[in-house]
Amino acid sequence: MHPWLRTLGSIPGAAVCLWLLAACSVAEPKADLVVINGPDPQTVDPALATGIEDLRVINGLFEGLTRYDPVTARPIPGLAERWEISRDGRVYTFHLRDKLIWSPGQPITAGDLVYSWLRVLDPRTAAEYAGQLYYVTNAQSFNNGRLKDPSLVGVHALDSRTVRVELNSPTAFFLDLCAFQTLAVVPRQVIEKQGDQWMRASPLPTSGPYLLDGWRLNYKIRLRKNPYYWDAANTRLDLIDFLSVSAPNTALNLYDTGQADVIWDLTNIPNELVDELKKRPDYHAFPYLGAYFFRFNTTQKPFDDSRVRRALALGLDKKRLVTQFLHAGERPADHLVPDGTAHYTPAAGLGYDPDQARHLLAQAGFPGGKGFPRFHYLFEGSGGGGRIHEQLGVEMQHAWEEQLGIHMELAQMEKKVFLAAQNHLDYDLSRSSWIGDYNDPNTFLELFRSDNGNNRTGWKNARYDSLMSQANLQTDPARRAALLQQAETILVREELPIVPIYFYAGFTYFNPARIQGIFPNILDVHPPNAIWKVERREAEGGATSAVHH
């Protein structure tokens, strides 16, 4: 036979061998729950994590002084069973639970908590969210490198079970912060030995309800029940898989073929199918602590004039924008702090009034839009194959052209290029969004203080800054809420360096007849140890009744 044919014949032979080789992958036990988490978590180190996909996994691995209530997302006792707050609101004394352990013979101590917080603040860790701890005395100086001695930072272990925290000023949301991923307790004994690669240690002790059983990048993170967790008795599922799925269609396919039990986050389902999926009982949408808005570059003419900014805000019919493009449960927004934020009544915004808009524009020197320069709206590509940023931009362009006679150009950019332009104030209008870190108006309103790095509008207002500072010194919640509302009024009614467009919707997709324990709270946090599967319960119930018969 010709040598060539033999070579050709070996190809199907090789293919069969490969096929069999692929079969040699070790069969692992099936997980109790498979969750489609969305984008690939970049890290599960609490000190380094930034994204919500990271948080969802860390929520199961590491716990802090407080944790989130699965139903309301309010902070409830976590590793600390109780605490005292001083009268002036500046000193917190936390008492850790009895018998907390990493593993038998290794207790979780107050010293571990102090270590974890100081690690976040240590400049060598380069933690992006170190700012969450800046409310603690001397924390910022230590993080800046100005203070070299970490023992001067206001967090101390009074004994093995007591932690004392000193804050710069009363911080109404401090207990919420203690539940946040950055402030979770990490195993000092492993980190000191292994440095940056400590997450690869095996076994890896954790302070939360689950252990890290496997981590494959761009694929899956597997969690296994931690038997040493203080509340292990109430952890109902043994094995949970978090899948990183980037294509929304693939996510839905996996769910529909039974390979996934839960999908969370709207970006993980195909946008075009929302109207169809809404009809199913699996679909759950609820108010979320996130806002979509755009920024003005207030250092650039004519946007340095608040009348122009107010005119543009008044000329936009947000209800129409939302009903046209966003059917998943989003709500139009006239103010910045989302409805439902704890202990707060938001300020009243400007609403839709094209006549008033034209009047203001004329006052500012551009009657009928004459003489108004061409300007650009910057935005990045909308993730997940959608085009929402572009669609909304086109609507805005159309609305202002019609109502005000001014012309806007759209400028779509690649994400990092867009962020660089926004940082350098190299834009006229730019798209933005903000997801709150904790359930308090401050997480939104502090952004627009003159000195905040996330301001990115060039807007500086001394009255706003002073109201914010006063509010955060207040211990009386009602007085504080009133002051914050006054500040927000300046932001969304008088000055408008930003124009809110809509509030995001939280989203979970699961079958409530099979899965329980996932609740629609405003932070969209779902502690994995609260989730359970109904079928197991049914099986137990059936067995008992059989016995009784």
């Binding site: 060539w4 079969a23 993080n143 800046n144 694929y219 994400k415 940082n423």
Partner: protein, 304 residues
């Protein structure tokens, strides 16, 4: 001698490529730590840059990188801060290689017989049908082929899983999606190669000598006609082995194809340079092997 020279050239060439990649990726606007939410103080950003030596001059950063390379250390990933570039490649490359090799075998296994058939049966309707198939395979992009295959074979017929990785069944649909285009290309290449070869003098001689048509086609024409396919196989294999973004994204396969695209978008400097080096090395080595094979197989080819 020629091949010895080519082999020696590999290392300096890779060095130049590494420097170009290193410099270019840092020249692009936007950095690895630019996010929608900026850190609470400029010092945090400064700490970040200091930790990864991004505040040092370019040549210093590059020398440090080269020093790491000598130890086989490609550096930490700037996006996956608990992983090193080497870790990520070690996790993903075997998967991409498995998928790529399977697609390669499929492309050759389907493309060569198809191309041979359409050339042997030229002028008859069978040849036209075969050519149409080949052209369709080339023109329909994998973004379309993939979902169609999933819809038909995975969702409707339930023969295969819709996505993910782990068993031989998971291999089939991605292989088909990835390999179909290349099967079409190879079929067309072989078809063209056969038709050209059949006009050569030595074929006329073989026929004049009284050899049967099958023998002429298989023993004499095919080995020469298949050489363009061989040349194409080198770069094709390099492409396949480093993973396909579209297929890996669609089927959620943990290969390195996704990283090749995402690392640039995320400005993960170390990851980009590591992957560029990997791809360049693969491409250079495979091209070398292909040239060597061509020289060995075709008595007419001589390199000096």
């Amino acid at each position: 001698m020629y091949f010895l020279k080519r082999t020696l050239f590999l290392l300096p060439l890779l060095l130049v490529i590494s420097f170009l990649a290193f410099a270019l990726v840092r020249a692009v606007p936007g950095g690895p730590f630019d996010r929608e939410r900026k850190p609470a103080s400029p010092e945090i950003e400064r700490n970040l840059r200091a930790k990864y030596h991004l505040d040092q001059p370019l040549w210093q950063q590059y020398l440090r990188y080269l020093g790491g390379l000598l130890h086989g250390d490609f550096g930490p990933s700037l996006k996956y801060r608990n992983h090193s570039v080497g870790d990520i490649i070690a996790q993903g490359l075997p998967v991409s290689i498995a998928l790529g090799t399977a697609a390669f075998c499929f492309a050759l296994g389907a493309g060569i017989p198809l191309g041979f058939y359409t050339a042997a049966r030229r002028g008859r309707w069978g040849s036209y049908a075969g050519s149409l198939l080949a052209v369709l395979a080339i023109c329909v992009p994998s973004m379309v082929v993939g979902p169609i295959l999933i819809m038909l074979l995975a969702i409707k017929l339930r023969w295969f899983p819709v996505a993910l990785w782990g068993s031989p069944w998971h291999l089939v649909l991605p292989t088909l999606t990835l390999g179909l285009y290349f099967a079409g290309r190879i079929a067309r290449l072989l078809h063209a190669g056969m038709l050209t070869t059949l006009h050569a003098e030595f074929i006329t001689t073989a026929r004049a000598k009284g050899l049967g048509e099958t023998a002429v086609l298989l023993k004499h024409a095919l080995p020469i006609a298949v050489l363009p396919v061989l040349s194409y196989s080198g770069p094709m294999l390099a492409d396949l082995l480093t993973g396909s973004f579209i297929v890996e994204n669609l089927f959620q396969i943990p290969g390195i194809g996704v990283f090749m695209v995402n690392s640039s978008l995320d400005r993960d400097y170390t990851m980009v340079v590591g992957l560029v080096l990997l791809y360049a090395a693969l491409l250079l080595v495979l091209n070398l092997l292909v040239d060597f094979a061509c020289a060995a197989l075709d008595p007419r080819v001589k390199y000096e």
